[in-house]
């Protein structure tokens, strides 16, 4: 069992644009309206990188920036973990399309943007952080895998870890092979010690048994949760927004589960 603290949540998804607005929706103070999320380039990127970076990088950095600005100022020591099931689906499509031509050719920028750790690379350039960073994937349970691994790192290395999860839909013709309903990104900071920004204390347990994953009561939010791997984070965000004690359960690769016991601070 791991014990740690959560702070600085951030979110970008249809109808959930930034933590203050999303928190009001998730705790029931304001109604949910699932308006599509406008794609914007976060200002933290220098102009050249803003031009070069792709949709996933912009989305991931949008929540990374929001999370960094609302957490404790300790950038120098902040490790980062980026979790995404599919990475940059638009670039993957463009690459495969170009490579199917009679004379295959790929754009160099598209190629370097295609690596799964492209958002991590742009983040380190934008923030100037030379700290450890990793990028992982675990299909629909990428968020749960990332949450557990970030908690493991915070605990084993006694340092703060920013977890960023994001996924965007595939264009045609891949869309029906791997349906993703909309853009979604979430960021959160896990710390081994309480800070003045701490929102909740939590314990995290990996269970060898399958569990019943926590769901969202609102049907549209539940459709988002099951329709985008990054949105598997929504029940945890809702618990943080409600500031209520409780258990949040995540599926873990079909046969196991991840249990998070939350105590608001």
């Amino acid at each position: 069992m791991l014990r740690l603290f959560l702070e600085a949540p951030a979110v970008a998804a249809p109808g959930l644009d930034g933590w203050p607005q999303a928190a009001a929706v998730l705790n029931g103070a304001t109604p949910y309206e699932g308006t599509a999320l406008a794609r914007v380039a976060p200002e933290i990127l220098p102009p050249t990188e803003r031009r070069r970076s792709s949709a996933t990088t912009k989305l991931a950095l949008r929540v990374a920036r929001e999370s960094r600005e609302s957490g404790s100022p300790q950038d120098g020591e902040l490790a980062t973990l980026f979790a995404s099931a599919n990475g940059d689906t638009e670039i993957l499509h463009q690459l495969c399309q170009s490579l199917a031509e009679a004379e295959p050719m790929v754009s160099p920028m598209r190629f370097h943007n295609s690596v799964h750790n492209a958002p991590a690379g742009y983040w380190s350039i934008a923030s100037g952080s030379m700290e450890a960073s990793t990028s992982i994937a675990a299909y629909d349970d990428s968020f749960a895998a990332g949450l557990l691994s970030a908690a493991v790192q915070a605990s084993a290395e006694q340092r703060a870890v920013m977890l960023v999860t994001y996924d965007i839909p595939f264009p045609q013709p891949l869309a029906p092979c791997r349906p993703i309903v909309a853009d979604c990104a979430v960021a959160l900071r896990l710390t081994p010690q309480r800070s003045r920004h701490t929102l909740a204390e939590c314990t995290l347990r990996f269970s060898a048994e399958a569990g019943e994953a926590s769901a969202m009561a609102h049907p549209e939010l539940e459709a988002l949760r099951t329709g985008n791997p990054a949105a598997r984070a929504l029940p945890l965000l809702a618990a943080l927004a409600r500031q209520q004690e409780g258990l949040v359960v995540f599926d873990y690769q079909g046969g196991q589960s991840l249990l998070l016991e939350l105590t608001p601070c």
Partner: protein
């Protein structure tokens, strides 16, 4: 940090099927590189292609996972009595206490590349194409998890060319934090059009067999490989090689060009030394990332200089395997383990005339000599760096 025992390992690359073939190739200076003959990739270069994958289809229950990348993973499982080692591990340790951390940069993307060539008149992909079992980044990890009956924490690490070095860091952390008692780590990356044409578009592939650290070096040869290792918490009667330290860093510099002074590389090496509780002088041999592009080798050389100075012997083994990208970390970790086991330091194959601009002690000729501790470097796009230190015994 708490060192980890490495109780089994296996490898497949162009330089050999299994550890003993790879080691023989190292000793004999026999390269696995060949003139590019990969279908659909008309690029003038050399590649590290693994023999036999075309005939190694996954069948029966595993058909949904059939792709070049997972075939390569299965081929590695079949070497070095590795499946017996996994069975032994599962007898000692509950399957939910065994982590599974696998590096890959492109997974089975070749299946999607080829499926795009078979789109119908409406642009629809063929019915026999399976995204999840092939191209999805978790595909190889999901395959191994089911194939081996592992039930612990599991994910794919995809940080370009540092991917399968970083899995050792994940294993150490999961064991140190008490989530796991052992981990199955490794990496698999296979030849595909994306990387062949992608590196070609960046003008980073060589028309010759790659020449790491040579004054005439002009790029990489792309290779493919799979390798796995079992790492465990140390027992009272532990013997054999150990993971002593890991260091991870980010360049914060450029997406595809390393920091010119090797600052990120140096930070990774220093962090690994610090975790291992070692001084630079206690490292006997450096297995370089050494890709053979002009800027990579120069940057790494400066990083090595700033940490180790000019004495510590170092070399790149890319001349044997090519650059196996997401599998480079595990392939070179296993080379480090072979060096420890046999008392051997490979000379930098194909390095005819060492670049006078580089001041590290680049080995041209192999040495048979005692080796106690090795540091292995893996650096990737996005400025993702990882250094690992392996030793013969805990310090």
């Amino acid at each position: 940090m708490i060192p980890l025992n490495i109780t089994a390992h296996t490898t497949v690359s162009a330089a050999g099927h299994g550890g003993s073939e790879l080691f023989d190739a190292l000793v004999e200076g026999r390269s696995g590189l060949r003139k590019n003959d990969f279908p659909h990739a008309a690029i003038d270069t050399w590649i590290g292609r693994v023999e036999g994958l075309e005939q190694a289809a996954l069948e029966g229950d595993w058909r949904e996972y059939d792709c070049r990348n997972n075939r390569l993973a299965e081929m590695a499982l079949q070497q070095d009595d590795f499946l017996a080692a996994v069975a032994g591990l599962k007898q000692r340790i509950a399957s939910e206490r065994i982590g599974l951390f696998i590096g890959s940069s492109t997974s089975g993307i070749l299946s999607t590349e080829l499926a795009y060539r078979r789109r119908d008149e409406h642009g629809t992909l063929p019915a026999d194409y399976h995204y999840r079992g092939t191209h999805d980044l978790y595909s190889v990890t999901g395959y191994l998890r089911r194939r081996l009956g592992l039930e612990g924490p599991a994910f794919t690490v995809s940080t370009a060319c540092s991917s399968s070095a970083k899995v050792f860091a994940d294993a150490q952390r999961h064991i140190a934090a008490g989530l796991c008692d052992a981990a199955f780590v490794g990496g698999v990356d296979s030849l595909c059009l994306t990387t062949l044409y992608g590196f070609h578009s960046l003008e980073l592939v060589s028309e010759h067999p790659c020449r790491p650290c040579d004054r005439a070096r002009d790029g990489i040869n792309i290779g493919e490989a799979a390798g796995f290792a079992i790492v465990e918490k140390q027992g009272a009667d532990s013997a054999g090689p150990v993971l002593l330290g890991y260091g991870e860093s980010s360049d914060a510099y450029h997406m595809s060009t390393p920091h010119p002074q090797g600052a990120g590389a140096a930070l990774a090496m220093n962090t690994a030394l610090q975790r291992a509780g070692l001084t630079p002088g206690q490292i006997d041999y450096i297995n370089m990332h050494g890709t053979a592009t002009p800027s990579n080798d120069a940057s790494e050389d400066r990083g090595i200089q700033s940490v180790f100075g000019s004495e510590t012997p170092c070399s790149s083994t890319k001349g044997w395997t090519g650059h196996t990208l997401g599998a480079a970390g595990i392939t070179e970790a296993i080379i480090a383990l072979l060096c420890l086991e046999h008392g051997f330091m490979p000379g930098s194959l194909n390095t005819q005339s060492p670049d006078p601009q580089l001041s590290s002690n680049i080995l041209r000729d192999s040495r048979h000599t005692g080796v106690q501790r090795v540091i292995s470097n893996s650096f990737g796009f996005g400025g993702s760096n990882c250094s690992l230190i392996f030793g013969t015994a805990p310090c």
